[in-house]
């Protein structure tokens, strides 16, 4: 550790130059960076809409914008964040970059399809943004019928086409991951030696394959209804609007597991690396990922408890919704048990990991409230729900995403980010997040409905707190943009394994060569063998 690391002479970033080498690349690492740029741009766009929402909610009269405009704001925020950020973020950036490295392969199974998936994402984004900008969309990201089919006079069809197209990006990514993980593991890399990050992405891919087509056909039906007046969801024609909700949520509930499973995969890597210990209950965590993928398809109607659903069906879905919490809980228990008697260090990725454990657990527990029929009837369509899913999506997924981004940043860029700036941002984000969303639990329980531009004046204090929190959160997100970009040029050069951590990705240079490994590795070690790593590397890196 006394000599400064020297970057490899040729690696994937400098192997070729020019816009064609990026826009026509089939290197999974470059495609991951293309996605990184795109999802980051979409994140800040979705965030801008969030800022406008929170600014409008400073006053109970909500008169910053008109009610119609407000509907367009929360719709845009939801559509962008769900479809263009949360679903692709971890799989398409970290997953794309790391999976071939983690399994000792030269690339994914279908590199050209990988590039195609990015282009499809971009085209889908352009179409959807076009709709959001030209006339806008005011149906909510859930575009419930019959409003979306019969009454809305906004760009529903265009947005629907955009979402339809974007869905294929998700499908192709999932397809690629499943085939890659089955067929391209290095010699000796058995299933139970795979990093849990890989298991998590495999489970995610299963959901992407099984679920996404259903929302594709559902969006098509909505478009057809608007264009051709088919009547599937029109009561006047014998249709049932609730059927739309069934079809919509059949995908959209598993979709939230597409958003959280990769984050859990990141968590497994971070918790072991920064406890310098083997993960507790590896097989349980691996199997729980598959269990979540399977069970996630059996719970969707908990979004529909107040629609006039059959009470019997509601009870079944309620019971199943409780069970889907179990595998998630198993993961949290096992990460906690991993920390126990570990040698815990507090670098930025670990700060985010701790944030995740706290916030995801909290948000997940509120999910149990919502699975309870009686409670849900009271809090559904209030800010309680909004707070619940933001705790999971933002407190969970985004924290894990940032933690993973920081953890693998040296591998991706060959540079170290500035640790103190990163820690400060993590703390700012944690504080800002809680200030934004905790008051929403309270105000929701007290009865403030969601998706309304105005609210009863007695809720103003809590709303102002939430908006204040949102500004802090926004600052917290902007700071990493600055120092991460700065580090790419001016950051300290990173060694191949700066933490050090186990995993094949750390056995190659930082950044890796285009074909990932100079020699295909053969795997003989068990996964997360930190005792062995520490023994071989000597002192622990502080």
């Amino acid at each position: 550790m006394s000599t400064a690391p020297v970057p490899p002479k040729v690696h994937y970033l400098n192997a070729d130059y020019g816009w064609r080498s990026w826009l026509l690349t089939t290197d999974h690492k470059r495609i991951a960076l293309l996605y990184l740029v795109s999802v980051t741009a979409m994140f800040f766009l979705g965030g801008a809409y969030a800022v406008l929402i929170r600014l409008n909610l400073l006053e109970p009269t909500g008169s910053l914008v008109s009610a119609e405009t407000y509907n367009k704001l929360f719709t845009a925020h939801g559509v962008i964040m769900v479809f263009f950020f949360l679903i692709p973020a971890i799989p398409a950036t970290l997953g794309n970059f790391l999976i071939p490295l983690m399994i000792g392969a030269k690339d994914l199974a279908f590199p050209r399809i990988n590039l195609l998936s990015w282009y499809i994402y971009v085209v889908g984004a352009v179409i959807t943004l076009q709709a959001l900008v030209n006339g806008g969309l005011d149906t909510g990201w859930t575009f419930y019928t019959p409003y979306s089919t019969a009454f809305a006079n906004t760009a529903v069809v265009t947005a629907g086409v955009g979402i339809f197209v974007t869905g294929f990006s998700s499908i192709l990514t999932g397809l690629n991951f499943i085939v890659t993980i089955h067929k391209m593991r290095a010699p000796g890399l058995t299933w139970f030696r795979l990093p849990l990050f890989v298991w998590a992405h495999y489970a995610t891919a299963v959901i992407q394959i099984l679920g996404t087509p259903v929302i594709a056909v559902t969006v098509l039906l909505v478009a057809a209804e608007r264009a051709f007046h088919f009547g599937f969801f029109d009561p006047a024609r014998g249709g049932d609007p609730i059927l739309f909700q069934h079809l919509f949520w059949f995908y959209s509930h598993p979709a939230v597991y597409i958003m959280i499973l990769p984050a859990m995969g990141v968590m497994s890597e971070l918790v072991t690396a920064f406890s310098r210990k083997k993960v507790f209950g590896y097989r349980f965590i691996a199997m729980s990922s598959l269990a979540i993928a399977g069970l996630s398809f059996l719970v969707w109607a908990h979004h529909m408890f107040v629609t006039g659903l059959s009470v019997y069906a509601a009870m079944v879905f309620s019971a199943l919704s409780f069970t889907v919490g179990i595998p998630s809980a198993i993961k949290v228990f096992n990460w906690t048990a991993t920390l126990y008697r570990g040698s815990v260090s507090w670098q930025t990725p670990m700060l985010y990991a701790f944030g995740f454990i706290g916030l995801f657990t909290f948000g997940g527990l509120t999910g149990l409230f919502l699975a309870t029929l009686g409670v849900d009837v009271h809090v559904t369509d209030t800010y309680f729900i909004v707070a619940h899913f933001h705790y999971i999506m933002v407190g969970g997924t985004i924290m894990a995403y940032l933690g993973g981004l920081h953890f693998w940043w040296p591998k991706i860029t060959g540079r170290l980010y500035p640790e103190w700036w990163a820690r400060v941002s993590a703390v700012i984000i944690f504080v800002g997040f809680n200030l934004t969303f905790f008051p929403q639990f309270i105000v929701g329980y007290l009865g403030m409905p969601r998706r309304y531009h105005a609210y009863p004046p007695e809720f103003q204090v809590l709303n102002v707190m939430s908006t204040a929190g949102a500004s802090i959160l926004g600052i917290g997100y902007l700071i990493p943009m600055v120092y991460l970009a700065w580090s790419m040029r001016y950051g300290k050069v990173a060694s191949a394994n700066p933490w050090p951590a186990t995993g094949l990705e750390w056995q190659t240079t930082s950044p890796p060569p285009t074909l990932n490994f100079d020699k295909t590795p053969a795997v003989a070690d068990e996964v997360y063998d930190y005792p062995k790593l520490i023994e071989s590397k000597g002192a622990v890196l502080a």
Binding site: K106, P111, L175, V214, A216, G231, D518
Partner: protein, 231 residues
């Protein structure tokens, strides 16, 4: 020092050998077909619900279709599946000429299927065009002529859902064939140019899988749309 690997023509560099490449392609294609199962499945779901709710109207609508045309079309499509399987078989045996022959036969049969579909659609859609009375129009909407089915009131509305599903499901099915036929033509052209061998003919196999899937969808569509309550 990058390891040297055999560069058989079609072998992509990230695969170790053609077997791994072919097996990966097959898995990928099957995963895509699984998405198609769920995609069409969404339509079958809508069908199931509304047939359950409005059986009599659905039965009336189904009686109005020509089961004989549907029956003939089913045999045509099954035949095209046979010729497609034979095309793959010929590719596996490296018989270039026969690949082309069977692919062309598949295209022919697929085209025949679409031709019958055109006939069926025309007789339902043409009455809807232009001004004047739209007797016999079976496109759901303002011009739908329920009296052609001797239905009125509630059932006149419900049967429109049946026809929405009829057009929607057979339409998307036909779209899959319309996309498939040019791909088959491209395959035939490449086969003619000697692109495929016994060692490597993965594209033929993959397109075959797609074509068989389209056949399977129709195997379910025929009884579900054409034969409701025919007893």
């Amino acid at each position: 020092m990058p390891e040297a690997h055999a560069h058989a023509g079609p072998l992509r560099h990230h695969f170790a050998d053609l077997d791994q490449q072919q097996e990966s392609s097959a898995l990928g294609m099957w995963l895509f077909l699984v998405t198609e199962i769920l995609f069409f499945g969404g339509l079958f779901t809508v069908y199931t619900i509304y047939r359950h709710l409005y059986y009599d109207a659905f039965s009336a609508g189904s009686h109005h279709l020509s089961w004989k045309l549907g029956f003939a079309n089913t045999l045509v499509l099954i035949g095209s599946s046979l010729t497609m399987a034979m095309a793959v078989h010929s590719a596996a045996l490296g018989q270039k000429g026969r690949i082309v022959l069977f692919l062309l036969l598949t295209i022919l049969l697929g085209g025949a299927f679409l031709g019958v579909k055109y006939v069926e659609y025309s007789e339902k859609i043409l009455p809807c065009l232009g001004d004047g009375p739209h007797a016999g129009c079976l496109v759901p909407g303002a011009r739908f002529d329920a009296s052609a089915l001797h239905l009125e009131g509630k059932e006149a509305r419900e049967v429109q859902l049946y026809f929405s599903l009829y057009f929607g499901m057979t339409g998307i099915h036909a779209l899959h064939m319309i996309i498939g036929i040019p791909i088959l033509a491209l395959l035939a052209w490449l086969a003619h140019r000697g692109r495929y061998s016994a060692l490597w003919h993965t594209p033929v196999e993959m397109v075959g899988l797609y074509w068989h899937f389209v056949d399977i969808v129709w195997i379910f569509l025929f009884p579900l749309l054409y034969l409701i309550g025919h007893h």
